[in-house]
Amino acid sequence: MMLTVPRGKEKIASLLLTLAAFSTVLILMIIIGYVIFRGINHISLDFLLDRPRKMGSEGGIFPVIVGTLYYAILTISIATPIGVGAAIYLQEYTRGNTLTKIIRFGTEILAGIPSIIFGLFGYAFFVVLLEEYTKGWSLVSGSLTATCMILPTIIRTSEEALKTVPSSFREASLSLGANRWQTIYKVVLPTAIPGILTGIILGIGRAIGETAALLLTLGGTLLSPESAFDGARTLSMHLYMVALETGNMDVAFATAVVLIILIFIINFIANFVINKIVAHQRR
């Protein structure tokens, strides 16, 4: 949408802005393209289904995929109820009193804390102090740590989603004699669900991409986890360890490809579901 005929300085400026904007696309293509170019050849069914050998420099990554999925599902099933619950409380039950201000402030601060600090905390609290319950380095410890990390993301996006539900829906429901929870459960949440799902997906993405905090809490075993109290290793961790401990870049890049594909798949499914829901509501 060009508003005015660009002339002289205008032309140069708009050219520069355009270049800047498209360079983000270029950077993305270089990064993803390079990773795929380096990694794709190493991927085979064997690689996906075999167990790693020699610190992962040989063999496959099956237990790592299992570990990643286990970890992602566990994390999200802990973080979702808490995050969405908190968002509901903040949006629907409070009227911006001091307490909400404190909670919001806390959430803000939490969002800014670097993941390595979460790692230190997760190690000291979940791994060491609560060892009796979490069994030390384990999926539980890692997922709880990750939950703390992604909570702000889920709370914030869910809050935004709840905010966009027109207050006329709430008023209509209440004026029909529904109580507050009925109103939330039957009208507000279903309307907000696409936004909330987006938040959850962002959360999963962040959880899967995390490495630093997990190095200190998840254990990093190369065996497949059999319960939530076993240790595990995620693709991100594996990629880091293989690249740095063994120097086998083929495996590292192949793992990176799998990681990227996994993130794509999750996003794709999520968008599909969200679109379905939205379409259903508008039909």
Partner: protein
């Protein structure tokens, strides 16, 4: 006729701003009462204080009484949920829920514990008929309510309220978002409903007030300036300000 609703010395503040000043009014059963007045004069605010919808807004303080069937609705003994069941409300712009037509109408009965499928079907049909929408939607009850036209949506909202079987119907500019034809249909509907319900309607449109209501209250900056049978208000207003307003000299 019996007095259904009555406000006594009602004052309402939003924070420090006084939106209603010493409102006194008796609203009679099975009559249509219209509230008119320039924008911001407190019509909606007053309407919303009749079913405690203002409870939702931060910083609202109220003194004085609102009685329904001689019971103070602001007393702590009142169950707000029951009150709102009894005093239904239709809003300025149609606000059907983003679900099917059927579910919209069944919403009220369901939250009040009615789970019987047959019974619900009956209620939905009856309410949609009352709201003069049945014929237009009966083959598409599972369609999303959002796919209806504005006028249909507003009638759906009316059906939705009727399904709860309220005694009083509060309508806040129910036609202001509608085209003239839809407006007409809603006005007809209101007239029809009058025999079963006590109706209070807020409108910006003086012609509308004149057409549909039995009594009219004229609001100005939070006060009721004049309250009389509609004909009197429009033909021989007692207060100069009322006259100025209805002749379009300000507002």
């Amino acid at each position: 006729m019996k007095v259904k609703l009555s406000a006594q010395n009602l004052n309402l503040h939003y924070g420090s701003f006084q939106a209603l000043k010493e409102i006194n009014i008796d609203i009679k059963e099975k009559e249509i009462t219209a509230f008119i007045g320039p924008s911001g004069c407190g019509k909606s605010t007053f309407l919303r204080s009749l079913n405690r919808m203002n409870d939702l807004i931060k910083g609202v303080t109220i003194d004085g009484n609102v009685l329904i069937d001689n019971q103070d609705i602001y007393s702590s003994k009142i169950d707000v949920v029951e009150l709102r069941k009894k005093v239904g409300m239709v809003f300025q712009s149609p606000n059907p829920f983003p679900m099917s037509i059927y579910d919209n109408v069944a919403y009220g009965p369901r939250v009040h514990g009615n789970k019987n499928k047959r019974k619900l079907n009956e209620i939905v049909e009856k309410s949609l008929k009352q709201a003069a929408l049945w014929d237009e939607v009966k083959d598409n009850l599972n369609k999303s309510a959002l796919s209806l036209s504005g006028g249909q949506q507003q009638r759906l909202c009316i059906a939705r309220v009727l399904a709860v079987e309220p005694e009083v119907l509060l309508m806040d500019e129910p036609t202001s978002a509608l085209d003239p034809i839809s407006t007409l249909r809603v006005e007809e509907l209101v007239q029809k409903l009058k025999k079963d319900y006590t109706i209070v309607i807020v409108t910006h449109n003086m012609q509308q007030a004149a057409r549909v209501s039995d009594v009219t209250a004229f609001f100005l900056t939070g006060e009721i300036i004049e309250y009389d049978i509609t004909e009197n208000i429009f033909t021989k207003p007692k207060d100069q300000r009322t006259e100025d307003y209805i002749t379009g000299r300000f507002g």
